[in-house]
Symmetry: none
Subunit: 416 residues, 2 copies
């Protein structure tokens, strides 16, 4: 028996007036999701706990069975792992956004128009950069998807010299200047790390602003990627591998580096899927094919689709609905081609991102589980509203992986 | 007001193809259980937490309100207490199975055909046995039900000399040799305990194999009980008595020693019921009569019926259904003869044991509570599927006893 967990990032929503007070899940055409709901068991799930808006990182940790209150040490490390970087125990990993700023470092666009050109060229100049004032640090930078990248500060001397207890430079909205990174505790390491990052803000702005590719972007009336915003400074959390905990082989299929990264951090293998982009342009059928190709070799496959969240953050209702339909197609392709009598399928979201709020909220998400041995309830459609009537009741994110492992016979008895 | 808690061991199940995708509870004839469900409130319950397959011991601790993650120190002690043995604080109590092995100690039957003869005779020879190589230990053995027994290793010198941190000798399946008991930590006590137990494995095999009763069993084409398998080494957990916590008098009515034992460990009185055997042959009406006889003297009576679990472990669907019907008869007898206007009745299982899996799983169990003051919901039948629609929602095992104590007015206010 195998389990597939499909997560539509930010797929949960609230009733929307323009939809006659229905949610995107309620209006999307999604025959496969509805069939799975009606042949399975449904419920709602608080990824962290009721009312708490999860980050994608803390939520995924929780969904894989790790209590983020205990293990979470910042997000950057997941971006770094997901980008294929090796992360060492003294490394501080930091998420970066390419952004557009004016001459006073006022942020005009936090995503530089979600750039889809120049990433690798920018990566090269940043990676080649060496700060004279901090000779004891190696800066490792990697561009990931769109405007996203990750930077590792690696002490050359092996003693821990840097700290993840520093604030973001990202002001998290436009029309504000890039923020000064501040130490979040009183250690000399946090102070040193914050000073270094502030120096890097200035240096990278100067390098990027005059970069030939940005000159080209300006000439094409595209926003230049002329600054790096830092957020989510982080170190490697200590986690016992999910493969060891349950005696399984596990795989993450995700385009977004941070999702791959959480998977890798908990011990999953990760594969690249060409054409799966982590955007609303992603080809979800290719992801379905990747699932089918790997089903033989894995007990637990986690498939992440990011587009639902992008559409929600952009307030793009139509795109969110169409992404839900793409997830439906992904599931349809799997069901048509897999041996379903040995397959547990779970579908949920990592959090609610209402298109009208454009940010994560603490509303629970819908969840369905379908497959052999599952107790079937009366829910016939997959939505926030329908699933709340389901027989799974209201569970926490932390419960999801044990529930799935139980259904594929991989949990260990506690006691005798 | 009094509360009766009836537990059908392993009564929960999954949809079964041979039953048209219904569960044994859904197809059993159980008018009393259904009447209780329709006049009471229902829900589902995770004995430990969602997805975690409970042992019977951890589950019962939890159902009585004790967090097994905090208090559990192995199972053998419950078997010992339930068998009527006095357990001292330095004792290591070990569950034993009479098993059938070949000359190479390969296990042919882990239960020696669920022996129903010879138990007392075997008990005597084991109890009389003194190991010359370990003069500082007293071995106390008691046969309980069928193939089950319990052994206490009691240090003659009062200093703690033995440890419960040792592995089982029981290979937990047939066609494998009896396992060597291994220390589970680095203490000299664990090492010493494991060595002693391995010596006992050999000595007991030699004593039992040539025992006259086994010669007789062989001549009757019955499997000989010619080895003891050890499992669940354990010491006494420190628990505050349930009678003190709630100011109640509490009674356990169970045939299986381990269930009596958990009751005794949490401070319940225990009585013997003749004809209640802890097997599928048990006479549940006698248990009902014992409840009625003791209702005057107790506030909380816990009635355990084991047969549903035995049938499940044996994959015997018909027997499981008939055991559910016996539980229904038990409840019918109580309801017909008790003063129901002062009675809260709760019925549930300690875990799910699907007949198709033949082992405990982490699926939630159905729960009903009926009696004066209970808020009635719309559930009309007692089953895993129906109860999931009930107004109790999805609770944890730890919540059950406080809920029942609340209904009989025995909980204390927290705060003012």
């Amino acid at each position: 028996m195998k389990a597939i967990l499909v997560i539509g990032d930010g797929m949960g929503d609230r009733p929307i007036k323009a939809l006659d007070c229905k949610t995107p899940l309620q209006v999307a055409e999604k025959p496969v999701l509805d069939r799975l709901a009606s042949t399975g068991i449904c419920g709602i799930m608080d990824p962290i706990s009721p009312g708490i808006p999860p980050g994608s990182d803390t939520s995924h940790l929780s969904l894989f069975g790790y209590d983020p209150h205990k293990v979470y040490k910042g997000r950057g490390v997941f971006e770094a792992l997901g980008a294929g970087l090796r992360v060492e125990k003294n490394d501080v990993s930091i998420r970066c956004n390419f952004a557009t700023v004016d001459d006073n470092l006022i942020v005009l666009d936090r995503r530089a128009g979600r750039i889809n050109t120049g990433g690798k060229e920018f990566e090269t100049v940043i990676n080649d950069y060496r700060l004279k004032s901090y000779p004891d640090v190696k800066i490792i930078f990697k561009h990931t998807t769109e405007h996203r990248g990750v930077m590792i500060l690696r002490p050359i001397d092996p003693h821990p010299r840097f700290s993840w207890k520093v604030s973001d430079s990202d002001p998290h909205r436009t029309d504000l200047p890039i923020k000064s990174v501040e130490p979040l505790d009183n250690t000399p390491e946090a102070l040193k790390t914050s000073k270094l990052m502030n120096e890097l803000t200035d240096e990278f702005h100067s390098i990027l602003d005059s970069h030939p590719h940005n000159i080209k972007r300006r000439s094409m009336n595209l926003l230049p990627a002329n600054a790096l915003l830092f957020r989510g400074a982080s170190v490697l959390p200590k986690l016992e591998s999910i493969t060891k905990l349950y005696g399984i082989r596990a795989l993450v299929i995700a385009a977004g580096a941070q999702y791959k990264g959480v998977g890798i951090a908990v011990g999953m293998d990760s594969i690249e899927v060409e054409g799966a982009t982590g955007t609303t342009e992603t080809d979800t059928i290719l992801k379905a094919k990747a699932v089918l190709d790997n089903l033989q070799n894995y007990d637990y496959i986690f498939v992440h689709v990011k587009g639902t969240d992008n559409a929600s953050h952009d307030g793009d209702l139509r795109k969110k609905i169409s992404m839900i339909e793409k997830i439906d197609a992904l599931l349809g392709h799997i069901l048509k081609n897999a041996q379903t009598n040995k397959l547990i399928i779970a579908v949920t979201a990592d959090h609610t991102t209402p298109v009208e709020i454009r940010d994560h909220t603490g509303d629970p998400v819908p969840l369905l589980i379908s497959g052999p041995g599952v107790r079937v309830d009366k829910v016939e459609r997959f939505s926030e509203i329908d699933c709340a009537q389901g027989s799974l009741g209201r569970i926490r994110g932390l419960d999801l992986t044990p529930i799935l492992m139980n259904l594929i016979g991989k949990t260990k008895k506690f006691g005798v």
